[in-house]
Amino acid sequence: MIAFNRFKLENGLTVLHHFDSTTPMAVINTLYDVGARDESEEKTGFAHLFEHLMFGGSVNIPDFDSPLQRAGGESNAFTSNDITNYYNVLPIQNIETALWLESDRMLSLAFTPKSLEVQRNVVIEEFKQRYLNQPYGDVWLELRPLAYHKHPYKWATIGKNIQHIEEATMDDVKAFFKAHYHPANAILCIAGNISLEETKRLVDKWYGDIPASLKPERMLPKEPVQTEYRELTIERKVPNDAFYYSFKMPERKSFEYYVTDIISDALGREKSSRLYSKLKKDLKLVTSINAYITGSLDEGLLIIDGKLSNDVTFEELDKAIWPLLEDIKKELMSEAETSKLLNKIRTVKEFQEQGLLNRAMNLSLYELLGDANGVNEENNLYQSITAEQIKTVANQLFKKENTSLLRVKSIKE
């Protein structure tokens, strides 16, 4: 159980407070309700580039990191297709430095040309390091547009291609800030050995005078229901053939989201899972295989990926994999298997609550979904899942016309 308080400032900022007297550290987590899905198709990769610029100085403070380090703290951030999340961890006695820094960059950035120039280069190197210079590194750049035709999930967080980042202008940067970086579009979580009263006093002091803006209305193109089987084969200089089966799955807020998560665990999370034991261990068709969900807020994907053994063809795998998906559609899952999967979830939840930063991030994410207390209800939701529900959802997922298959064919140097 993660206890918390919630209050709202007049300018629209939502604040969560989580008290923990056992730690000498404090966490200040800021979630902005903006991700790659909010970019325009001509300017992709922008939410992520912007995350980098947030460290390049704000209106009153030339450099974000130094003062925080001087206070004994550390900061980082991540951008997904859905959100941008910034966090600071520092000794509790210096918490005010983090609030000073975070509130100033919510107020306004410095927008220096040098910062844009350098971070553009840094992001281009990140693009190369993660996507271009790794075997199989570019599969998500190919898989997303195969699975999504309309919804902005069709591009990756890093962007569609390097040109979009190269062409970003200062006007774009300013417009992006104005639209998405203001109190009404943020959730601030303060965690540590600090009272609610002191939290209110400090938040009011540093955030109270930030002007309000209207929360942007999100009008994303809806992805039409997929009605046809899709496949794409790309050739790459990689050691082995690889496959990525993806299936559209329900959105984050639905109960079926949790059921789908359990289904992916049953198929390929662990070394006792169905696909692993059958396709790797018994039939030796693959050298690795995993199943997982993308965790997206809108309609996401369940992915089964892996690599073929030498001399095994994509067709052989395809013939072997579908009967296993049919099994989960036809047969009710045994009591032993569901209890195995739910026991694992319980352990994971218990470990997740271990860290202060984890707790602060999870509270913020659930608040975005509608109620921070969702974090405390999640385990019960999972534990309530029945074999019938698993069968029903599996039938919605594993249909040919709900499938997009990407094959990476290995070619020699």
Partner: protein, 419 residues
């Protein structure tokens, strides 16, 4: 309206409470370290073995490590994992230079059962033919993927050349390691390094003492006989070697030199120098090469601890066209530390940062155990950290410069690039 142009007052961390774990003697040379004060149901149990990658030729240590849970006469690997999964347990295995670790993560109600399953699996490892074949197949495949990563190639070649004087430490994996199973060699290695190779047990979890005793009974039979010996006195040649790789857009760089073990009097002071140079986001390497030039997504430096020695390393991946410029800037930063005193302002910032990070490293039962373990493994005590706090607070710009002159001569480095 708050004054936004001035940083609020900060206070340096001046006290950190370090908690010593409960210590049980498994044998004269093997201990169990236990932190009991955990506010929830979670348990982590780590078994440390004298089975690091330097304990055998080429891939032998890694192969046997991967085979540990691959099945007994009675149970296949899937059945073993099925049992552990059913109890909600997670296994994690890790192999580093001088040690191999098997970790169990679970809720406390299941720790005994899961430990029994793991103990049985390792004790009665049967090297089933099909399981061995499956592991070799997967490892060969992973090897092929790794060969395409410039970062991996640089790391392997760095190891090979830094430890050139010691065959066991310089050995690296080859594709042919996975061609044919050498079950006899695997068995010999397993008996020597696992069944008689347990070097320590660490435990975090709110258990009863008799449960801890039961774990000692269960795993204690694998305890090593006597104190484990590790190599030292390595020699290498300072040189620059490039391993070309076509079709890559970035180059991996790894450069380093030997320093000293954790017990050396310069260790903590050098840690401050290392932080200034490359071990935090605002470091000189990051400020110059990423934040000013934009040559890389990341660059860093670090000190690697070993039993008899330690080494210092700088790591990055940069655009191919800026590799030489990057090396030039690294040289510039090393020389700047040798020729100019660090400003009080910068040094103060680094001191505060390091103390804050030390505070964080001691936060919570899991962190505390890791912290204790990382000194106890090298026969040091918690006094190491009290001394560290004092040394960090006291160090002067002149001392930083002195260390830079002694240890950071560009010409003394082994430089490996791949790409």
């Amino acid at each position: 309206m708050s004054v936004r142009t001035k940083q609020p007052e900060t206070k340096q961390v001046d006290h950190i409470s370090f908690v010593k774990p409960h210590i049980f003697d498994v044998t004269q040379d093997v201990k169990l370290l236990w932190v009991k004060e955990v506010p929830n149901e979670t348990v982590r149990l780590d078994l440390f073995f004298d089975a690091g990658i330097t304990r055998g030729n080429k891939s032998l240590p890694a192969i046997v490590h991967s085979l540990l849970l691959s099945g007994t006469k009675e149970l296949s690997s899937v059945e073993i994992h099925e049992q552990i999964d059913s109890l909600g347990g997670f296994l994690d295995t890790d192999i580093s230079f001088e040690t191999a670790v098997v970790s169990i993560y679970c809720l406390r109600e299941h720790v005994r059962q899961i430990s029994n399953i793991v103990a049985n699996a390792i004790q009665n490892l049967a090297f089933r033919e099909n399981e061995v074949e499956d592991v070799l197949r997967s490892m060969r495949q992973q090897f092929a993927v790794n060969q395409q990563k410039v970062k991996y190639v640089a790391q392997q070649q760095f190891r090979k050349h830094l430890f050139a004087s010691n065959a066991d430490y310089a050995t690296i994996s080859e594709e042919s390691d996975y061609d044919e199973a050498s079950v006899l060699a695997y068995k010999k290695y397993w008996k020597q390094h696992y069944l008689e190779g347990l070097t320590r047990i660490t435990l975090v979890g709110d258990l009863e003492v008799d449960e801890v005793d039961a774990l000692i009974d269960l795993f204690g039979k694998w305890a090593v006989d006597g104190k484990v010996q590790h190599a030292g006195g390595f020699k290498f040649q300072a040189q620059r070697i490039n391993f070309p790789k076509e079709d890559t857009v970035q180059c991996a760089l790894r450069m380093g030199r030997f320093l000293f073990p954790k017990s050396h009097p310069d260790y903590i002071d050098f840690q401050v120098l290392n932080t200034i140079l490359g071990d935090y986001f605002g470091s000189r390497l990051m400020s110059n090469i990423r934040e000013d030039k934009g040559y890389t997504y990341g660059i860093g430096s670090g000190m690697m601890d070993m039993n008899q020695t330690g080494y210092f390393v700088i790591v990055t991946e940069v655009g191919k066209e800026v590799l030489d410029l990057t090396l030039h800037e690294i040289k510039f930063e090393l020389e700047r530390l040798q020729n100019e005193l660090v400003s009080d302002d910068e040094l103060d910032l680094v001191k505060n940062y390091m103390l804050g990070q030390l505070l964080k490293s001691a936060d919570g039962p899991y962190a505390m155990l890791d912290m204790y373990n990382s000194v106890d493994m090298y026969d040091l005590t918690l006094a190491f950290y009290d001394e560290a706090i004092q040394k960090i607070k006291r160090i002067s710009p002149a001392r930083i410069q002195e260390l830079a002159k002694q240890y950071l001569n560009f010409e003394d480095f082994l430089i490996i690039t791949a790409g």
